[in-house]
């Protein structure tokens, strides 16, 4: 392997070497940025190391993740270059040291183990193409890590479609999208058909008021990846979705999932939900939702989507009254049960039996095909 950092004699050569080094760290830098740096340097080289670093950072960084890691990479590069220039590094082949990842907190590691079933997270980043048709009928529990990205993309598409659904009703519009001929003529009749102004119309956007409540207990572990991506996908495309997760107690995840970076989301989720993969207390968790958020979030246009297999290890006394309340306070109460995709599935758990009379739509959520079916419900 060719050594990445060696002594160079000219500024452009140094720049090209640094950019190559940066690319090995995952930065996408084009020639355009290189030219920009050179044109800035032509006008005057920043006087201090900190300012030089700030200059490179401002031009080469394109997102938050890069912004936060750039400083360390820059320092690392110049340290190694200084060593090379001191002649302390021999020209023999030697790999550039990659900074060791910082030790993750145990709860984050637990979440990652739960999420990836112990597989290395790096594998997930290598997403490969997989046709929608091929995966749409595949059970989420058997998803391979390299289909991770496809799954997120499809969930995002579905979520976006849901959140921007147009109603059949036209409303008055103040932008000139479509002339409302009927209304324009009706108003013009008052002036002997003299058109003084046009009236416009547009399709009303049905604003989705969705409350997502997901079960993240041990019994749902097989669907863990799908669960987090499902919640994340929804939160990324619409502002009007409130997301909650529960196992033994309920936690609001709306703000956590709104972060644009999935890695940050995972880190924050680990702090937010300390009970991943533990027991299930559906009744108590839903009751907690009713008390803390029910009146604040729900109205007659709300759709509540509960994603759970219905296994309850806690007290089921409160399920019936809470489900009755949730049905009354929402326009639709949908229960997605991953187990319902099995042809032999029967409602047998106590919690599920108590909840069934109050559910408007009971559907499976074990593959993308079933997920797409939900779109038609809205």
């Amino acid at each position: 392997m060719q050594k990445l950092i060696t002594r160079k004699t000219s500024l452009p050569e140094h720049l090209i070497q640094f950019i190559r080094f940066l690319r090995t760290k995952g930065f996408t830098v084009s020639v355009h940025e290189e030219l920009e740096i050179l044109s800035v340097l032509e006008k005057g080289i920043p006087t201090s190391y900190a300012l030089q670093k700030a200059m490179y950072k401002s031009i080469l960084v394109k997102n938050r993740k890069q912004f936060l890691t750039f400083g360390e990479i820059y320092d690392d590069y110049w340290t190694q270059l200084a060593k090379a220039e001191d002649g302390k590094i021999k020209n023999e082949e030697k790999e550039v040291q990659v900074p060791k990842p910082s030790r993750q907190k145990s709860d984050l590691q637990a979440l990652k183990n739960w999420l990836y079933n112990g597989q290395k997270s790096e594998e997930l980043e290598v997403a490969s193409f997989s046709a929608l048709e091929a995966i749409s009928k595949q059970d989420f529990s058997s998803f391979k890590t390299n289909e991770h990205q496809d799954l997120i993309d499809i969930i995002r598409l579905i979520a976006k479609k849901l959140s921007n659904k147009k109603s059949r009703r036209n409303i008055r519009s103040y932008s000139n999208k479509t002339i409302d001929i009927k209304n324009t003529i009706r108003k013009a009749m008052r002036n002997g058909l003299d058109i003084h102004r046009f009236h416009y119309k547009e399709k009303q956007i049905k604003k989705l008021n969705l409350v997502l409540i997901c079960d993240v207990s041990r019994s749902m572990e097989l669907y863990s990846k799908f669960l987090i991506e499902f919640m994340y996908g929804f939160n990324q495309v619409s502002l009007n979705i409130k997301t909650f997760a529960f196992s033994t107690r309920l936690v609001s995840l709306t703000s956590t999932l709104s972060d644009g970076n999935f890695d940050n989301v995972l880190t924050n989720l680990a702090d937010q939900v300390p009970y991943w993969s533990s027991g299930t207390r559906i009744g108590e968790s839903l009751s907690q939702f009713k008390t803390n958020y029910g009146d604040k979030l729900l109205n007659n246009k709300s759709i509540i989507l509960i994603l759970s297999d219905g296994w309850d290890t806690g007290n089921t006394d409160e399920i019936e009254s809470t489900m009755k309340y949730l049905q009354r306070k929402s326009s639709q109460l949908i229960w997605m049960n991953p187990l319902a995709g099995n042809p032999d599935y029967k409602v047998e758990t106590k919690a599920m039996k108590l909840a069934m009379p109050y559910i408007d739509v009971f559907t499976s959520a074990h593959n993308l095909e079933s997920l797409k079916g939900i779109v038609r419900l809205f």
């Binding site: 006008k43 394109k62 997102n63 912004f67 956007i205 709104s258």
Partner: protein, 294 residues
């Protein structure tokens, strides 16, 4: 403007910059490239554009983005009502259709929206595209078109080239991921919550009359509150509001009663207020606020 001048001029307008901020502004002006600023709400992203316009003694043109923002609201729109009225007034005059058309599709009937306005200015203005992540992806596409050529084509009157390229500041709260194409065309700056020293200097700069002990306690308190994992962390804007409120009440130091009664100034979510109330004793201990014994 070099970096030192930017720091000084911004400081005169009570905006404290660090190396990253001043370098980004300097390069944005030098390379005539938009500056994309991301960060949590209330850390001073929008303020950069406002102060930049003041410092450069130029106009600030602001486009507030929202879901459904389209070209008519962002670029231009014909004033149809005025055109109809004009045609009505010209009914009895012997003008050919071509002449009438030339009249009604002229500058007088063109309603210039922020993007068109920004390229028609005699002196390069500061164009603030605020909260771009709230607009749809379609908006990003036609905005990209503008960024690449700095010209806008109006079919009826032709292509309008920029008289001066505006200084573009784009802000976002990361409610959705922006396209790579847009990121590539911009310089990037992330502004996080400030550290204690920076926040203190901001408070003292914006409120020169505030009691220094109080300012110190406020900044320490805010630093600790942000560690609480709240739904909505308070930003610098909230710190300044709180400092102004307490200072105008002639309060010289924090105590339990004052904090409890003014918590609504910094926290805007009832659950956050409840969470912080539960942790008040601990917060006071860390900040060094003496609690009265019951």
């Amino acid at each position: 403007m070099d970096i030192q001048q930017i720091k000084e001029k911004f400081s005169k307008q009570s905006y404290i910059t660090d190396d990253a901020i001043s370098m980004s502004i300097h390069l944005s002006i030098l390379l005539q490239k938009p500056l994309l600023i991301e960060g949590p709400a209330g850390v001073g992203k929008t303020e950069i554009a406002k102060v930049m316009a003041q410092v450069m003694d130029t106009n600030l043109i602001r486009l507030q983005c929202y879901e459904g923002l389209d070209a008519n609201h962002a670029i231009y729109e014909w004033n149809y009502q005025k055109q109809l009225l004009f045609l009505k007034m010209q009914e009895n005059e012997n003008m050919t259709l071509k002449e009438k058309e030339a009249n009604i599709f002229s500058d007088d009937f063109l309603m210039k929206r922020p993007l068109l306005q920004s390229i028609m200015q005699e002196k390069a203005p500061v164009l603030l595209i605020d909260e771009i992540d709230r607009a749809d992806e379609e908006f990003e596409s036609f905005f990209l078109e503008l960024l690449s050529d700095w010209q806008i084509t109006i079919p009826e009157i032709g292509t309008q080239k920029a008289k001066n390229i505006p200084h573009v500041i784009i802000t976002g709260n990361r409610t959705r991921e922006l396209s790579e194409a847009l990121r590539r065309r911009c310089l990037y700056l992330w502004i996080d919550y400030p550290d204690f020293e920076k926040e203190l200097s901001i408070v003292l700069s914006k409120n020169p009359t505030i009691n220094k002990k109080l300012a110190n306690q406020i900044c320490l308190f805010m630093k600790e509150v942000r560690q609480l994992k709240l739904e909505k962390n308070p930003g610098i804007a909230e710190t300044l509001d709180w400092a102004t409120a307490l200072s105008s009440m002639h309060i010289e130091h924090l105590d339990k009663e004052i904090v409890e009664s003014t918590l609504g100034v910094i926290l805007k979510d009832w659950q956050d207020i409840r969470t912080s109330q539960d942790s008040l004793a601990e917060l006071f201990e860390r900040v060094g606020v003496k609690q009265k014994l019951a």
